[in-house]
């Protein structure tokens, strides 16, 4: 029963990822694509969570944390890139 529910949940997450994927490709602006990518990252977290339950293992909890951090850093970097044109600014005193 639980197995069944888990698969249904996975299917749901995949469907939402598909929608987000469509948004990544379609655009129309870069900001749309970045937000869609961020959400795909979050969906990935849930996929990994669900899969760990199915596989009955706790080894993937680090992966979940990592995806969280990476999605955050990536989104921040993209945002800065869109706003200022570069990610790491030059030190002005140099």
């Amino acid at each position: 029963m639980l197995e069944m529910l888990l698969f249904i949940a996975l299917g749901g997450v995949f469907l939402s990822m598909l929608g987000l994927f469509y948004r990544v490709i379609k655009g129309p602006s870069v900001a749309d694509r970045v937000i869609a990518l961020d959400s795909i990252g979050i969906s990935l977290i849930s996929v990994v969570g669900l899969v760990s339950i199915i596989l009955r293992t706790s080894d993937y909890l680090e992966v979940i944390l990592l995806i969280g951090i990476l999605a955050f850093i990536g989104t921040v970097a993209f945002s800065k890139f869109i706003e200022k044109g570069e990610i790491i600014e030059r030190d002005r005193n140099q």
Partner: protein, 801 residues
């Protein structure tokens, strides 16, 4: 190392000190020091005469590479000694001549004598080596030193051309000789000529034996300037005249004759040997004498005459092979050709050496060698005129000089073989005397031409660059010694017959001696009225007639189209070879990375698919496959979908993002296939590399950022599809054909006990197989340092930033 080895290597050792002598002692011509070397060697080698006359041989072995059966075995028999005496004797005369010919102040004498001594060692090495590999070594050394000597005046273009041409042709022959040596030693099991000869009966029916024979003959023909490889010799006349006299008349060009004579006992029982050697030699005799008549340069006439005379000796060696076909030799009739070959070899060295020196004197004293400008020098240079007359008459075969005797013997040999009925010679054997007589007639014509156009006829002093006068006495001594030998041998021919000719002929025909026969060497100046004498009279009278009418028919030579000439063919061959290779290079090496990738991938596809097909290597077995889950199918669809969309993406930014999707999907696969460490690393690395791709994209010039699809090319699509197909097939085939069980169980069992760890991947990385990790760390370090270096040490306009 015996005294004999030291004698062979003496010139080489002395040559090391020549530059020192040249630099330190400038007041004395360096040649005087060099002169001692051949003189000592002549004296040394003369000692062996008594032994070879008694039919004995001298062997001395020096170990060189014993494990490979390569030892420097010096072997002195009649044939080797004859050549050694020629090399050192004429070497002494040539060195003496060169002292007066080359100016100590203007010429680079240290170069000249180093090359010359190098050559002397090389020639002595060839004729006195029993080990074929050592002989090959010296053989190539003669090619190299001859190359250096021809290119002695390297600032002249013709010298460089001649040196290159002779190098290419003789090295071609040398390499084929190496092939012949390899085959022969494989068959006989030894590099030694004598040992190969002892066992020749056991392997002479092998088909490779014939191949070896042809390869050896190629070497001999190229070195001895036989048709069609004779073309390098006239161009080698750019060398200083002492070199032409020494290398290109008396010694080096006879190395091929030596090889034929030395290998005769092994190969001569094959009919092919007889046919090739005698007919090539005969044709060369004819062709060389025919072409000599049309030359206008004294040295060029002599070069073609050398070719022709070498052809004569070569054909005699071939005819001598007929002697081995006859089991019982009633009166040793057929050995006359071999004796004639040896005799003419000696005679040719004497008269041709003197003629070359004469040409050098004329060149030295008048400033030209062009016979159209020369004439009437007989009263101005009487001694040189005498030398030229005796040398040329001997070459023409006029009695009482030595050339007459060997020509008579040549005619005897030719007539006998054509009558012998061997090798079905009844029909085309008649050609031999015919060609021989025609060749001899032309020989007569050009011999007279040399003397007449240079020393007789009208005097044209205004055309000469220098005012002619008689040469210094030092320059005249060497040719005078040679022409006195010409007369001496001509009048007392039996002087040499027992000392030099018989031992040499016995070395060429050992089977005759082994069968209890003897080789009669009785050379008579007058042998009665016979066919040969009438032929000589015919040659002289027709030759005189042709010479008198020469201006009338000489223009026939210009009728011959230029395209047929072998020099033209050689040049065209070189040009065509160069052009073809450039053309191939230009089409294949386009400079575009994409073409090379097409070659690489195309080659991989052909190799993999054809080996799968021809080796019948493809298997597909469903047993090792596991069940497929739905989520795996979904992930595969995502992976394939995004990978395909990369190829159709319009902007590069989309491609980068899609590549990121592929990477993350792979990370998800790692999750599904239970590889948490891989998944972690994959996620981080994918993020970093996507960021790097974006960085690169941001810095791209505007023009490359415009949106454009990848252009479709059918070839590329086909190759990529085939690469995918072959990799897939190989993966399936290797999955289905596991030979051994995995060793993973060992790690599972021991990860906790032996390595005190719980995470097996990490334990393998740092414990079981930590060595790989160390070097992957190094790779990362190198990459980091490399990036730092590339960014910080950029050169902008030649100035470090």
């Amino acid at each position: 190392m015996s005294l004999l080895h030291f004698a062979i290597l003496l010139p080489l050792v002395v040559s090391l000190f020549i530059p020192l002598l040249y630099k330190k002692i400038r007041s004395v011509h360096t040649g005087w020091f060099v002169l001692l070397v051949p003189l000592i060697l002549v004296a040394y080698f003369s000692q062996f005469l008594s032994q070879t006359m008694a039919g004995k041989t001298v062997v001395a072995t020096m170990k060189w590479i014993p494990s490979l059966d390569i030892n420097f075995t010096a072997y002195v028999d009649g044939l080797g000694l004859l050549f050694a005496l020629l090399i050192t004797g004429i070497g002494s005369l040539v060195v003496l001549y060169s002292i007066y010919y080359l100016d100590a102040k203007k010429e680079a004498l240290h170069n000249f004598y180093v090359y010359l001594l190098l050559f002397m060692t090389a020639m002595l090495g060839i004729v006195l080596s029993d080990n074929m590999i050592v002989m090959y070594l010296f053989w190539e050394l003669t090619s190299i030193s001859s190359f250096l000597l021809i290119g002695y005046w390297y600032e002249r273009e013709r010298s460089r051309y001649g040196a290159q041409k002779s190098m290419l042709i003789t090295v071609f022959g040398g390499l084929s000789m190496l092939g012949g040596i390899s085959l022969l030693s494989l068959l006989s099991g030894s590099f030694s000529i004598r040992e190969s000869l002892a066992t020749v009966g056991t392997y002479s029916s092998d088909p490779l034996f014939t191949v070896s024979l042809v390869l050896f003959l190629l070497a001999a023909f190229t070195k001895s300037a036989q048709f069609p490889f004779h073309i390098w010799l006239p161009d080698a006349m750019e060398a200083p005249t002492p070199v032409s006299a020494y290398l290109h008349s008396a010694t080096m060009v006879k190395a091929g004759l030596y090889l034929v004579a030395r290998m005769s006992p092994i190969f001569a029982e094959t009919p092919l040997w007889f046919y090739l050697v005698s007919s090539v030699g005969m044709f060369t005799l004819f062709w060389g004498s025919l072409n000599a008549v049309k030359q206008v340069d004294l040295k060029a006439i002599l070069a073609y005459s050398t070719i022709s005379q070498l052809g004569l000796i070569m054909s005699l060696l071939g005819l001598g092979a007929a002697a081995l076909q006859v089991e019982i030799l009633p009166d040793s009739l057929y050995t006359v050709a071999t004796v004639a070959a040896v005799f003419h070899l000696i005679n040719h060295a004497t008269f041709k050496g003197s003629l070359f020196m004469m040409a050098g004197i004329v060149d030295h004293e008048t400033g030209t060698r062009d016979i159209r400008k020369l004439g009437g020098l007989s009263q101005l240079m009487p001694v040189t005129f005498t030398i030229a007359t005796i040398g040329a008459l001997s070459m023409a075969g006029v009695p009482p000089f030595n050339g007459f005797l060997s020509k008579e013997m040549f005619l005897t040999g030719v007539l006998e073989v054509s009558e012998s009925g061997l090798f079905h010679l009844d029909t085309f054997g008649l050609l031999f005397p015919f060609v021989a007589v025609i060749g001899s007639i032309f020989t007569f014509v050009y011999s007279i031409l040399i003397v007449y156009r240079t020393f007789l006829g009208p005097r044209q002093l205004d055309k000469l660059p220098k005012k002619p006068h008689e040469a210094p006495i030092g320059m005249l001594i060497p040719p005078l010694v040679l022409v006195s030998l010409v007369i001496l041998i001509g009048l007392f021919p039996n002087l040499l017959s027992n000392t030099l000719i018989r031992p040499a002929a016995e070395a060429i025909l050992p089977k005759v001696i082994a069968n209890g026969g003897t080789i009669p060497v009785e050379i008579k100046l007058w042998h009665g009225f016979n066919l040969e004498l009438f032929l000589t009279v015919l040659i002289i009278s027709v030759g005189t007639f042709l010479f008198l009418t020469l201006p009338k028919w000489r223009s026939l030579y210009h009728r011959m189209p230029k395209q047929v000439s072998l020099n033209h063919q050689y040049d065209a061959l070189l040009r065509r070879g160069e052009r073809t290779s450039t053309a191939i290079h230009d089409t294949v090496m386009t400079g575009y990375m994409r073409s090379y990738l097409v070659y690489i991938f195309g080659f991989i596809v052909v190799l993999v698919l054809s080996s799968l097909y021809f080796l019948d290597a493809f298997r597909f077995d469903v047993n090792p496959l596991s069940t497929v889950h739905t989520y795996e199918v979904v992930l595969v669809l995502v992976l394939v979908g995004s990978a395909l969309s990369i190829t159709f993406a319009r902007s590069r930014l989309t491609s980068i993002i899609l590549l990121g999707v592929v990477g993350y999907t792979v990370a998800l696969f790692f999750v599904l296939f239970r590889a948490p460490d891989l998944a972690l690393t994959q996620l981080v690395i994918e993020t970093v590399s996507v960021a790097l791709f974006l960085l690169v994209f941001y810095h791209m010039p505007e023009i490359s950022r415009k949106e454009e699809r990848i252009k479709f090319k059918l070839g590329n699509a086909a190759i990529s599809a085939l690469v995918g197909l072959s990799v897939t097939l190989v993966a399936l085939a290797s999955l289905s054909q596991r030979s051994f069980a995995s060793i993973a169980q060992y790690y599972i069992d021991n990860v906790a006990d032996l390595a005190a760890g719980g995470n097996m991947v990490n334990v393998i990385l740092v414990d079981f197989r930590g060595f790989d990790t160390l070097f992957e760390i190094s790779v990362l370090a190198i990459a980091g340092l490399g990036i730092y270096a590339m960014i910080n040490f950029r050169k902008t306009g030649g100035i470090d930033k």
